[in-house]
């Protein structure tokens, strides 16, 4: 069971949408942590195992330091040792999102499947494999000049549309996912409830407009 994560890099920051823990069937799991002000670590695959690794390795034994590249490298080494020593075969993955002090943004993935481990760099967006609808929408709607605000709206729309199809009911509450951003200067921050709800409302209006606009797409206009 994986959780949904969408991250979009923009000219003025990185937009992040993460599925809320209770949609991932566990109230006790935090699926995103921020080791420092400019870096985020998000669980990409099996949640309980991911939590165990983060608690067991990162939070209790090691203080990770440096920029996103440095933290990703340190963590990848530690995770690699952990899965080898414990003979872990379940798929697991982490995303490292953030900014280096020189202003470079990066989205780095660490994945372990079976007995193989690999690292991947994503650009300009990353959509976890559990949401093909989100991948479809972000691919269609991303533009290189997208602003952070618009990227947050897009990430929220992609997340909501995926959840509507996967969960089978309309998702209208902000509790079902969280929005966050990493700004090159301000660092990592969560969007508050009011802002998230206003984005959801705006997206509902957009979705209604989309439905109306598509009404005649499959009608023969010869009548």
């Amino acid at each position: 069971m994986g959780n949904m994560i969408i991250a979009i890099q923009t000219l003025n920051g990185m937009a992040i949408a993460v599925e809320s823990p209770h949609l991932a069937r566990s109230e006790e799991i935090q699926n995103i942590i921020s080791p420092n002000q400019h870096t985020v670590l998000a669980y990409h695959e099996t949640l309980p195992l991911g939590q165990q690794m983060v608690e067991g390795i990162l939070q209790q034994h090691v203080d990770l330091e440096g920029d996103v590249f440095s933290i990703a490298e340190q963590a990848a080494n530690l995770f690699g040792e952990f899965v080898t020593q414990n003979s872990i075969c379940d798929p697991i993955g982490f995303l490292f999102l953030g900014y280096a002090p020189d202003g470079r943004g990066a989205m780095l993935g660490w994945f372990h499947v079976g007995d193989q481990t690999r690292t991947t760099r994503f650009f300009p967006f990353c959509v976890s494999r559990t949401c093909p609808i989100a991948g479809y929408l972000v691919n269609k709607l991303y533009a290189p000049d997208i602003s952070l605000t618009k990227a947050l709206e897009l990430a929220a729309y992609a997340m909501t549309q995926s959840q509507i199809v996967l969960v089978g009911k309309k998702i209208i509450k902000h509790e079902y996912f969280s929005l966050a951003a990493i700004h090159p200067d301000r660092g990592f921050f969560w969007l508050d409830r009011e802002t998230t709800e206003s984005i959801i409302r705006k997206n509902e209006e957009r979705d209604r407009a989309l439905r109306i606009a598509c009404t005649e797409l499959f009608v023969d206009r010869n009548w």
């Binding site: 093909p132 709607l141 199809v165 606009a213 009404t215 010869n222």
Partner: protein, 253 residues
Amino acid sequence: MTLAMALRAYDGLVLATDSRATGGPHQSVDTSEKFLQVNRDIGVMTYGLALPGYTGISRLVETVKSKREELTYFKPIADEAGSIFQRAYVDWLDSEKQQGREAPPEFKVGFILGGYDSATNQFKVSHWESPEFQEREQGDLLAAQWHVARFLLNKLFYPEISVEQLGELVVFLLVETAVSEPTVGGPLQLATITLSQGFQRLHEQDINEILRRSQKRFCLFRKILLETFSDEAAGLTAHLNDKVGQADALPKP
């Protein structure tokens, strides 16, 4: 994987799949036959594991041909189909074991039977999936790589749609899925089932003609999506209403 669909129009059914078979992350062929006609009014499709899938649908067709007197209507064919599909799957598992291979439990095979049931005067869709092979009657069905198609169907489908227009919608769903899912692709396989015409498989050139007609539709949909997310349109439903009124770019048959 596959995208397999059985969708209900006002006046019939549309059955469709792609033709891609994947055997690993970098191995795929677009030659898989996932689709057969069972009798005048019924068709069968498969998705997932290609080998037991094709064995299952071809055995069903052979069985129906050899028992024409007993297997005429949808229900007796569906009753027979479940055990045929399960046997095809078990045979495949046995052959894998004999060759020293163990099939991972996540590797599944599914079957969809769709058609007109003269006994009840209704169009029906039934669905079986490994390992249980429990028959499930469905209204509409999207199977395997169904997510993007379901998202689009939720926006584009209307219950009054005709079989002809639904055929065009199905081609749209398959192409939009194929461009975003590497395990879906290749020539499209599509059939319509109506009361008057029965099962009619579309030839490759007919599907190519739909694809040709649909080019403006793909562009228009992309334009609508982009406009919906533009700053100009944000929060302005009326603006888009006007835009739709002006968008006279739909394909002419």
